[in-house]
Symmetry: C2
Subunit: 216 residues, 2 copies
Amino acid sequence: MIPTITAFEASPDQGMGLARDMRVRWALEEVGQPYDVRLVSFKAMKQPAHLARHPFGQIPTYEEGDLVLFESGSIIFHIAERHAGLLPSEANARARAITWMFAALNTVEPPIVELEQAPFVEGDKPWLAERIPMLKDRIRVRMDQLSDRLGEAEWLDGAFSAGDLMMVMVLRRLEGDGIVEDYPNLAAYVARGQARPAYKRAFDAQLAVFIAASGD
Amino acid sequence: MIPTITAFEASPDQGMGLARDMRVRWALEEVGQPYDVRLVSFKAMKQPAHLARHPFGQIPTYEEGDLVLFESGSIIFHIAERHAGLLPSEANARARAITWMFAALNTVEPPIVELEQAPFVEGDKPWLAERIPMLKDRIRVRMDQLSDRLGEAEWLDGAFSAGDLMMVMVLRRLEGDGIVEDYPNLAAYVARGQARPAYKRAFDAQLAVFIAASGD
């Protein structure tokens, strides 16, 4: 059965592949699972048909027969449980890879989202210029720790896993902020993720949606 | 084998049970798994021995033989996979319960943590008084959506699950903020969680640590 995911009809990142459908596309490409995409507008995301799929009115969602899931972490975990290639088979290594999924989403991503959203939420406020460096410093604390843990390893814990997929995508949200660049091992880690053929296929697929939308 | 978790030697919440070890204690109590606790000071949390367990220098961690995990979401999932009582056995219901764990941690908790931390991070800034209502409004958007989805149901998706455990603990972080109180169904949902015998045993265990510490 071919699953259907949802993605932005017109992604606000202009095809940079930073929206959360990219994570799910990448996971599906890693395991070789074809998928369909339903594009949704910002207006449609807040209407009952989409809220039935995603109570918080966001993308991505994942539909497979009677099953409807939301949250990129949950969707990727679901894919990883059903296909080889995203989680190790050895029990302890598997538990550690899952730990990195949660760490990416609950410890590393939240301060990055704050930095990303500040100009939109507080762009007209006099304090924004003073807050941005504070937000960046908070992220640097996490980058210091993540860089220390990664060291010279290729991936966070043994072979590439769903934990790396999620962490690479979270770190990509810092592109242009001048933070990851200060950590050569983290910058190389992100580049390794982006060099994977499955990543490239997923990136091209989401970019094609943006190009088609902007050609209208 | 009895697992060992870590918890604050002196919790900054003064025994209110808002630190993340409470989530793990509750999960362990739900499944009837005894556990040991290693208390760590704020200073020890940033030193090599603890950073080897938790690269971001936080609590809780979970040790079971050779396995070392961090992130409350990952630890609770590990417990839920190995014991009955926290995830449904039917595959689709299980995937949906896991979805709620991720939703609690990646969609609902981050704006709540921002509100909680603002007075510590920006307590001396002139803008704090104007930002607090903005932070609360952002949380209310999520509470509106969560309240709509919960409706009159007892739990988020069928029987009580690790998703509810996580969501109840995340909502508890809003105690005293005058937000959850505006949603009678959410307030009742949190109260249902707190009324569970396993919750009470976990709460009493973490409170006993605080009382012992404050008696020194």
